[in-house]
Subunit: 331 residues, 4 copies
């Protein structure tokens, strides 16, 4: 049994804590939150203890791994402390809003050969995973073009937005990781952005709509489109086109029911629109992969380097937005 | 060039006349209608002559084939006369509302080895044709179950209904032919009928909704469902299920557009709801097959015997409706 | 918390036991199986006790409800004993292979106003449930025709088949319940059966393929088609057609991936083909509804009478198969 | 009746000639081709005369309109001559491979208020047309993002490629027109190109795969992806995303048949892969719109200015490809 402590009992922290608690080969040792009452609530629901301090968590010999789901600014200090304490780490994306601190963190911890897995949950979605496997098994030959569609159902709260790091670092980062996962290293980035959804975004010097083009080292071209609002739900699709054909992976709906009437035919349900519901299976699978990697002493994936690489693309996309130039990434 | 005369310039007669006129290897020699003004109108549109009488049509040496699209009661006399005059015949279904006159007609004309093709247009629909070919090519192994769905967009006019012969002879007859075409000889028939659409049907001792089960000599079972009203268009589908899989052939829509919004997703157009539009390509193809058969001296299909066979099933379905028993057909 | 004991630790018993154990407002008190070792294994997995005897289970004051998932022949004795012991009962279908014992059981227990829920799991499938709700909310007007497709991925083992009671009592019974659930009381039944899948069925005087027509008291007609083998998975579909349109509920697939290549386009995954996986959510939901009904003192649904009613249709279908007549059910 | 002469009897010229000939309110007066034998063949098929010279065509008083379907280099001289002769013109795209000659042509002919319609056939495809109308009717609110997919089934012949003007001028030009048609004026263009399909393209300093981003004056962002090879047919799709939802328009298939078997389910036909077949209806409709505009004295659309505008985008895309910068278009 792998002992896990969860740091941060917000929405996503609770999802992870529950998945750890229900995992047959993991044991949830403790949960922690700077707001102790919040930690106690989660602890009560899952019948575990609410740790009194981070020190307690890291000093606990039963804790093999620390799952970091606290606010972004705490990620690096927590990774450092956990690695120093000899713990494996699962950390929610992003490592940090800025690239430099993440790189510095890596320089510091790398000599310890740390086990750090990044929470790019979409890699574990059954449909995206199947597309990835079938692509790499050669079903459509060499990848030439990919279209990644990612549209949030509605803008986040102003409070969240303020500290989000902007569309590319907060939202597109998942798509940048998908692009790397499908096509390999990215060498060039171009981005168009727009303010079409809500004046709030402009207020925070952020954008709410974007069209990004990536060029992979392999030659493949990837188009990503993002919006902060989508009337029909949380639109999450991948289209991979290759020399021998195309693979598409699409949305989820609550039911398979279709309505045919005098206005339209074969009308389906809305797309599942809450990310925690949409990626419920993916969150379970990523924890399962983390636990399995720890058991087998194998390497975790996606790892720290994947977090850095996606971040580099986000930074390049921002630069492209400012300069109007495609930005080359040194490989 | 095959010379063709069209008898009957109603809705379906005009479709056939136009298809003959546009056929590269056929020549529309004349059109005829008991209402001469009606014939003249069609003749004018297609730049051919409106024959003054049936005798003129049958005496015309340029006429190789007669296409019978006049009212049902005239079919048998016209087939007889045309065969006697040495013409090939294409006749709209049904041969007659009753089985006996059709059988008598056949006994009379059979010694002449007549060429008589029946207008079961659905056999020529590109999708049904492809399903048929792929089924018989063995793609799904042996046929075991079929579901045939056939729902008219709206009830016919009372006037039409009166002389229609009832649901099974007028509408289901097409589905009975489809069943034979897919599964071969039918040996047993059961029918449930209901009055759910319009009181008009009950008034004419007719039904407007039915569920028919057929057993084929091959062992395959076929379910047919019919309705005289369908909110979303002219619903025409076939599902063929066999030992190795299933083939489905579906409806037609005007466009491929799908709407996703806050109410539903992937909502498609209504189904094409006018039979002449739905089967436009099928009507062209059946004329093309008729012309090609005449050119090659090959046999026409579906022929007179197919018309009789479908009619037998209709009669058996009516008997089943009355008696509550499944009715066996002598093969 | 509702205390539940599970009787029978076979495949389906274990599914129920796990769902009870994971239910937030239920407590799995004990499991029991005539093969004690089997019970102990399940008990160990779920950290509950394996009861030593049925008497112990029924004498346990913590047991509010007994979940009967043992072999069919034991259902009636267990229902009787549990009701006598004042327990609520959840019983897997069917109550019994024969109608008379079930009716006798009811006459005996009815005076006790027992709480007995029948395990017609499909009523709790999210898609079928949504179709049912939308139908009854009037989205397609009055129900006129329904097509229920139910095809097993592969024939059961010979051993199972032997005691199964035949296609209609074992397999179609679910579809008969679906028909009643959608259309209300059934008043007339016709059945065609065939042996097309495996000679084994004929050996047991059973059929492997069927086409059944039902007439509801409402006037609606229902067509059910069943096969004991389906190349592409466990085919479970409902089509409900009414005066204002149609609702369809379809199959489940592991992923949303579609392949487009030089052979075909938009090719999807096979249909989920293991019933426990296909109805995983339905099994959870039915237990949840059972628990909720016990908490609220509300009535359970589907109940004993629904089990009887579906059984009556199965018996009528068999009679129709023998006699070739549609069989009327006294209401 | 509008009298039309067709110049150029290649593949597309013959399509247009046939559509004119079959149009109920147009008359095909003559066809012309520099290769007289070619013209005679087409003339024979359509029972019209093969003009001996261009002069004869332009001098013919019965000719109201000239349809230019000859090689690209002849377009401008023919437009000039036809306008000078007082004829209306329908010209295949592009006006010219270069922008300057097209602008010069316009400066010369503009004072004559010429009627010049450009052959952007996709605007007349029933599905794209419906999407366009529904978008402009406000069904999905304001357009924010569009994804245009356009993939040819196979690379053109080397001979054709040589003089094609390159991917953007030859192929993407249609997509640029679609983008303008949907989103209005384009103000910024970025292009990535790649050589992934065939070494032939690199040999001609051309690309075979591209990912283009456009920004419209309205703020909307458009992504276009192109490939010169597509295993499953001629992939032609539009996705328009707006504040209230999404409209998608898709591909065409020969039949509606779907195959379900032990390998996959719901597998559809290949996509129609010959452009003349794919856009058969669109070619008819564009001629019909041209004829109707001439009859009504209304303006034609798309016109010369639309040809220029699409060309400007193509030129900008090429510049972006060279410089790595997004290119602004002066409006």
């Amino acid at each position: 049994m792998i002992g896990v402590a969860v740091i941060g009992c917000g929405r996503i922290g609770r999802v992870h804590a529950r998945n750890v608690a229900q995992h047959p080969r993991a044991r949830l040792i403790a949960v922690y939150d700077v707001a102790h009452a919040v930690a106690e609530k989660t602890a009560g629901e899952l019948s575990v203890k609410a740790a009194a301090s981070l020190e307690d968590v890291l000093a606990d010999r039963n804790v093999d791994a620390v799952l970091v789901a606290s606010s972004t600014a705490t990620h690096i200090p927590l990774i450092r402390a956990a690695v120093r304490a000899g713990k494996a780490v699962f950390c929610e994306k992003p490592i940090d809003l800025d690239l430099e601190p993440a790189l510095a963190c890596w320089r510091e911890i790398a000599p310890h050969h740390p086990v750090v897995m990044l929470g790019f949950n979409r890699r574990f979605d059954a449909s995206f995973l199947a597309l990835h496997e079938r692509l790499h098994a050669g079903e459509i030959g060499r990848l030439e073009l990919a279209v990644i569609t990612s549209r949030d159902p509605a803008p986040p709260a102003a409070e969240y937005l303020k500290g989000s790091g902007g569309l590319f670092r907060d939202m597109s980062i998942h798509d940048f990781d998908m692009a790397r996962w499908l096509a390999g290293d990215i060498v060039e980035v171009h981005a168009f952005g727009a303010n079409l959804v809500d004046p709030l975004f402009a207020q925070f010097r952020d954008i709410d709509t974007s069209a990004v083009s990536l060029r992979a080292a392999s030659g493949a071209l990837i188009q990503i489109n993002n919006s902060r609002r989508c009337a029909y739900g949380y639109d999450q699709r991948i289209e991979a086109f290759g020399s021998k054909g195309m693979l598409q992976a699409g949305n989820q709906r609550a039911t398979s029911v279709e309505l045919w009437n005098a206005q339209q035919t074969a009308a389906k349900d809305l797309v599942v629109d809450f990310f925690i519901q949409r990626y419920r299976q993916a969150y379970q699978t990523e924890i399962d992969c983390f636990i399995a990697a720890l058991e087998n002493g194998g390497s975790v994936s996606p790892g720290f380097a994947d977090g850095i690489a996606a971040q580099r693309i986000a930074v390049a996309a921002e630069e492209s937005l400012q300069t109007g130039r495609a930005v080359r990434l040194s490989s």
